[in-house]
């Protein structure tokens, strides 16, 4: 989107109503904003200098009053709101693509907190924007961006970063971004936003920073997903090119602590401590992860009985997701937690809640086996030489099975008994 298009969206009316729409009572947005401010506090040294790029109405800037805070935004209307909300704080008007030599290395923390990095035409422009923001970071400072990729835009669609099974040109295919358009219900349309895949975003940030961390938000419920942010630390003295960074720069994946007040996912993945993200993309690791996830799922289905009543409320939000659940094992990758929630809701919908009745899977299997045995008996009866009625005791079934197998088995005499010899 070019500058005029962006300004036509973020006009005075939009700026006036922005806070009530995106910082209102919505639990999802409240969780998003609260954790952003929390991470900023974690990254900002006492009395440090904080620049919020794309600060909007300055809602985030109105925290951490001890720090030196400044903002940057493209839209004059939003800048006006931010100035009114943060008296004494300098809010600059301009683009993150503008060169600002006076800011080189001047900020302990540069943040981009509401996806404004996606208002670019292409990934190349995005790389320029990130490089520009990174150049403003002090040598011991860091960069923090809230990011969204396909997983957040199309909830539940988890694109792989590398797809070695589609060798169009004889080698791998790397999904780098998706292009999406957001039509708000009030008619404002954000055209052709560029949402890079998480790994691509990590690679871009890794051009300027040695350490990259991906921070997941606490989950407010089982189905809304976890937003994520990218943090760059240890600024490089000289930026690398993307080719030097490589295809998959390693990053640290950090979840909020288990006892975080916003955390509402009893089956959260990961540990309170940081865990290394595995990067091997071979089949073995993927299938091992799937195996592990499946075995965890199997174990937890048994535990479902007691907690079903609590989960009833979320059933309605699942909507059509269950249909996708069917055969699509791709969904399982990485989002085991989400799937757990869906499965438990499924069970909650099937069972009468509160009765404590166990869903006897074995009973269903027994019925199936019984029906199969009956079919087998009927079938063999039609073939059998004697016309005795089908009985389902073990001896008779074995006999009938032997009869059938014998007729199908070319190594048995029964098979050849019926074959007519050619008469000369």
């Amino acid at each position: 989107m070019d500058r005029d298009e962006i300004l036509s969206i973020y006009d005075p009316w939009y700026a006036d109503t922005y806070d009530e729409r995106f910082h209102g009572g919505d639990a999802w947005n409240a969780n998003l904003a609260a954790y952003k401010v929390e991470v900023v506090g974690e990254l900002l040294p006492p009395g440090g200098r904080w620049l919020d790029v794309g600060c909007g109405t300055g809602k985030h800037l109105s925290a951490h009053l001890a720090a030196v805070r400044e903002g940057l935004d493209l839209s004059p209307s939003m800048v006006e709101k931010a100035r009114a909300a943060n008296p004494g704080v300098t809010i600059h008007e301009g683009s993150y693509l503008d060169p600002r030599p006076e800011w080189e290395g001047a900020w302990d923390l540069v943040t981009n907190l509401w996806l404004s990095y996606q208002f670019v035409d292409s990934l190349k422009v995005l790389e320029q924007a990130v490089a520009n923001m990174a150049s403003w970071v002090a040598p011991d400072g860091c960069l923090f961006m809230h990011v969204a990729d396909c997983e957040d835009v199309a909830r539940g669609v988890d694109l792989p970063w590398e797809d070695p099974e589609t060798p169009v040109f004889g080698d791998s295919l790397f999904v780098t971004s998706v292009t999406w358009t957001w039509k708000e219900s009030n008619g404002r349309t954000h055209h052709d936003l560029v949402a890079p895949q998480l790994q691509r975003m990590v690679n871009i940030v890794a051009r300027d920073f040695e350490e990259v961390e991906v921070r997941r938000w606490p989950a407010i419920d089982l189905v809304s997903g976890r937003p994520k942010g990218v943090i760059g630390r240890k600024k490089r003295s000289k930026p690398l090119t993307l080719a030097e960074v490589g295809n998959a720069h390693p990053f640290t994946l950090v979840y909020p602590p288990r006892d975080h007040p916003g955390e509402n996912d009893p089956w959260r993945p990961g540990d309170p401590v940081a865990e290394e993200q595995p990067h091997a993309t071979g089949d073995a690791s993927v299938s091992a992860a799937l195996e592990q996830g499946l075995s965890e799922l199997r174990g937890e289905i048994g535990q479902l009985g007691g907690g079903i009543g609590q989960l009833g409320g979320a059933v309605g939000r699942l909507g059509g997701d269950l249909g996708q659940l069917g055969g699509d094992l791709g969904l399982l990758r990485g989002e085991v937690g989400l799937l757990r929630g869906e499965l438990s809701n499924l069970a909650g919908g099937l069972l009468p809640s509160g009765t404590g009745e166990q869903y006897d899977t074995l009973g269903v299997v027994h019925e199936q086996v019984w029906a199969l045995r009956k079919d087998l008996a009927d079938f063999s009866n039609a073939w059998a030489v004697d016309s005795s009625p089908p009985s389902l005791d073990g001896v008779a079934t074995k006999r009938l099975a032997r009869e059938i197998l014998g007729r199908l088995n070319p190594f048995s005499r029964r098979f050849w008994r019926r074959v007519r010899r050619p008469s000369s």
């Binding site: 919505d26 947005n29 998003l32 396909c150 791998s172 790397f174 292009t179 358009t181 219900s185």
Partner: protein
Amino acid sequence: MRPDDVRELYNHDTAQTYNERWHGDPWGNDTLHLAEALGRRVHPEVRWLDVGCGTGHFLSRFPGIDRAGTDLSPSMLAEARAANPDALFFEEWDFRNDNPEWRDGFTLVTCTGEPWSYVETIAETEHFVENLANWTAPGGTCLLAVQDPLDLTGLRLPYYIPGEPGFPGEIILKAVVWSMSDRSHEHVPEIGTKWHHDMVWPLLDHWVALFARHFRTIIVETLPHDPPWLNTPRRVLLAKDKRAPGNTEPVNIIHTAAAPAFHDMIEPEPPADQEPPTQPESSPPQSSTPVPPPVPDVAEPAAFVPVSGASGRDAGEAAPHGPRRLRDLTLAQLAGNFRPWRLGFWRSVVRRAKSR
């Protein structure tokens, strides 16, 4: 990608080996099916522009037709000129830019080989579609070879997404952008792994939406893909009934499938005067496959009637490559057509046995 990057990618070396690599694949019949899809639209009165023509392979299959090609890479165009000495012109042109000389100039505008993915932004894709529409004459046809990301990789992406928490309203997922690495020149140290960076790959639904701005009839034709365990389905998008300026009538979208390619193996009926006098009386009549009359593409509904066993040419017009006979097929094509689970395979076996 920027034009210079594309020219560098499709340089002299690439152009030299391009046909062998992409049109000489012994196991892929994609080229064959695409040529057939084109052949159903190419008739003697056509004036044809192939956008992103590359080495002009498809143009060279239809000699004697008024045809022209445009491409970004001069090396590829040199190959195209050599393969098509009788073409109208070959011009180096970036399809993102409109060419006023070509406005309404061609009754058939085609684009095969997915050159549209070498753009920087989805807005450039929109300009590309606009230009294709501009260059198509009123009443003409625009044919684009497309592949949905789902076809290519199995990534099932939704086009329309109702609002999400944080994004109230609605979301349109227009395209996926991917990079592909190419190790075909890895043994040459100064080239190494080549990268096709950040190719913009719109979803099939988005292609339809883009063409619907300029055309009133959109036909998405799924080509046969065989052998099915090696190939992914390919589609051609046909746009017809170009809109007059200001025309906002609803679009008519048709999804159809081309006939299976099995008819490649069936020999055409010999002319009536050379036909052997009688078939044996005992043969059941239903075992001989009737070849339907060829359907010219001029008539509108003919395009989406599945055509089997006919190339779509006029009956009197000889196919440029002559009748296709079994002995002309390469071993690989034969192997590709060895599909005993298809009824047509056995039909043709019976036919061949009886004609001996």
